[in-house]
């Protein structure tokens, strides 16, 4: 069993990069050392991954025994930077909220296909960061940058709590 944090998106399409940026913040040595400093120990089995969001590759990123946190951008709905959370084990993901990958097979399709085939990880928490601009070459919007920081901090707290629990 491992704890997997998966950031999804396309680094070249503005706010679509949100999930990747969260993963990179957690990857940063400073962030890792803070987590270790707070928890006092390393977190065994922690894997931080970056994915395009293409569903079949995404389904290969976990096993049924893993704990998974997945972060991706969500479609614009007038509140850029808003963070939504789903317990995907308990609830189906809403349609038309995650950007689609090739042939409209993206994060939602990966999760629902895995659910249909009894392949969901034992826990699957999904963070959606609402984007504003997704065109090629666009910068990340200030609202999404703030949300990335906020989600990264929240995940850091979760990691340290998880680490403390595992050691406690």
């Amino acid at each position: 069993m491992s704890l997997r944090i998966i950031g999804c998106g396309n680094i070249d399409r503005g706010d679509d990069a949100a999930g990747l940026l969260v993963a990179r913040r957690l990857h940063a040595p400073a962030a890792a050392s803070i987590a270790v400093a707070i928890a006092g120990v390393e977190i065994p089995g922690l894997v931080i991954m970056e994915q395009s969001g293409e569903s079949i590759s995404l389904m290969d990123c976990w096993t049924v025994n893993d704990d998974v946190v997945l972060v991706d951008a969500t479609a614009p709905r007038g509140t850029p930077g808003q963070v939504q959370r789903w317990n995907a084990r308990a609830d189906q993901l809403p349609e038309d909220i995650f950007p689609c990958s090739t042939h409209a097979f993206g994060v939602r399709e990966a999760v629902e296909l895995a659910r249909a085939m009894s392949g969901l990880p034992q826990t699957l928490l999904i963070y959606g960061i609402e984007g504003k601009q997704f065109f090629h070459g666009a910068p990340t919007s200030p609202e999404v940058e703030r949300a990335v920081e906020s989600v990264a901090n929240e995940l850091m707290m979760r990691l340290t709590a998880t680490s403390a629990r595992r050691c406690g």
Binding site: E54, I56, S57, D60, T102, L113, A116, M117
Partner: protein, 432 residues
């Protein structure tokens, strides 16, 4: 005067196709009055922003046109630029390019056959719902797609938007041992493809045939990927450099993707049916026999049977990949030397969805002066509308929901890639 009801069928977002488009059909009784395949994904202006880029940058830029067929874009680009610059590639590089293309066909066709098109025939709204009842089949499809992904990742450095293709060859050629690691999975994939062909050949196909002009590449010895003349079942036989003398692009008001038509305005069909009908004798015996076992006849003019033809092409691609791996010897150098000069080059290769034409003009420093890219979906758009004009009449007396789903299925016969043609489907059905 009889008053027949007019109905308008609208699909605002077509599903299970790549990109964003809509479908509009106006019926009066069982007469089709209007059909529009409307592609509203914004134009992406790739041809314009290739200008002033160095020729060597082009393969990586055009790969971004499509997430499912980036290799096709890379291959048409490198061949067109090599044609312009007089580059001759190493025979081993030629083999590697065929293997690269096998990977793309396997991942693209597996996705379409199992997840995008099969649900239409089995009465499911999507592949996810189908997976609940057909887990083993869907698992087979996903594994098959992954076999293709593995080839692409090995050859291209990564699965999505591969980065190894270069004008003159590859930035790095794989070792024999690296390719041999693919063999076991490809042998499984060949068997799975044969099973897929048997599976889909048992579907119910609408009784619908059209008198198509099929257009594709033809090579004297091979089922076409990278090389060959552009031929049709009506006597066309031209070099890629003559493409624009025979085909032209038209703007239609309801689509952000240009319609490619024959000079004179007639539609034509590119893709698996065209390749199968015009190159059946180039398929390996295992694929020919599978086609016969599936009841396919040459020519096949029923577009709904394209799912069976795609499965046959899966058989071919797996068989071909294994052949290439057996025969491969690493090239002395992964890519040939390239010298820039002012020139123009043309090439067409066979993307999973059909013929993909590129033309580049370069200046003396190798900077792109102009570029032209004609994707398969642009070439099939008018033909899709004509299919719908005939097919919608056959199903016009049925309930709107059924007309809608049947017409969407008819669009998916072409596995359209709207991202390439600009990205797809919403249906609007209107009846008076």
């Amino acid at each position: 005067m009889s008053k027949q009801p007019t109905r308008t069928i609208k699909v605002d977002t077509l599903a299970r196709v790549e990109g964003e488009g809509a479908l509009y059909i106006k019926l009066k009784g069982d007469q089709v009055q209007d059909v529009k395949l409307s592609i509203y994904e914004p134009p992406r202006f790739f041809e314009a922003f290739l200008r002033d880029r160095l020729y060597s940058e082009i393969p990586d830029i055009v790969a971004r046109i499509c997430g499912i067929c980036p290799i096709a874009y890379q291959m048409s680009a490198v061949h067109a630029i090599e044609n312009a610059l007089g580059v001759t590639i190493d025979p081993s590089v030629r083999l590697l390019r065929r293997l690269f293309y096998c990977g793309e066909w396997i991942e693209s066709h597996a996705l379409h056959v199992y997840m995008l098109h099969a649900p239409d025939f089995l009465g499911y709204p999507d592949g996810i719902t189908m997976a609940r009842d057909h887990q083993a089949i869907v698992q087979q499809g996903l594994r098959l797609k992954k076999a293709g992904n593995r080839i692409v990742a090995l050859m291209g450095g990564r699965e999505i938007h591969p980065v190894s293709a270069a004008v003159g060859g590859f930035y790095k050629a794989p070792s024999k041992s690296a390719l041999k690691e693919l063999v076991e999975e490809l042998q499984w994939a060949l068997d799975a493809s044969l099973a897929a062909a048997r599976w889909v050949s048992g579907f119910d196909f609408p009784d619908f045939e059209q008198n198509y002009e099929f257009v594709c590449l033809s090579h004297p010895e091979e089922y076409p990927f990278n090389e060959g003349r552009i031929v049709s079942n009506r006597g066309l036989d031209i070099d890629a450099s003559e493409y624009e003398a025979n085909f032209t692009e038209q703007h239609v008001q309801h689509s952000n993707a240009l319609h490619s038509v024959q000079r004179g305005g007639d539609s034509y069909m590119v893709g698996p049916l065209a390749r199968f009908n015009l190159n059946f004798d180039k398929l390996p015996e295992v694929a020919q026999q599978a086609a016969r076992d599936c009841g396919l006849q040459v020519p096949c003019r029923n577009p709904f049977r394209s799912i069976v033809v795609r499965a046959i092409e899966l058989v071919f691609a797996c068989h071909e990949a294994l052949r290439v791996i057996r025969e491969y010897e690493p090239p002395a150098a992964p890519r040939a030397q390239v010298l820039a000069r002012a020139s123009t080059g043309h090439a067409a290769t066979e993307a999973p969805r059909g013929l993909l034409y590129h033309r580049y003009a370069l200046d003396q420093d190798g900077l792109i002066v102009s570029a032209k890219i004609v994707p398969p979906t642009s070439q099939n758009q008018k033909r899709i509308e004509e299919d719908l004009r005939h097919f919608a009449g056959q199903v016009a007396t049925r309930p709107v929901e059924e007309i809608t789903s049947k017409c969407e299925q008819a669009v998916r016969n072409y596995d359209p890639c709207i991202s390439c043609a600009t990205h797809f489907l919403r249906l609007h059905l209107e009846r008076d």
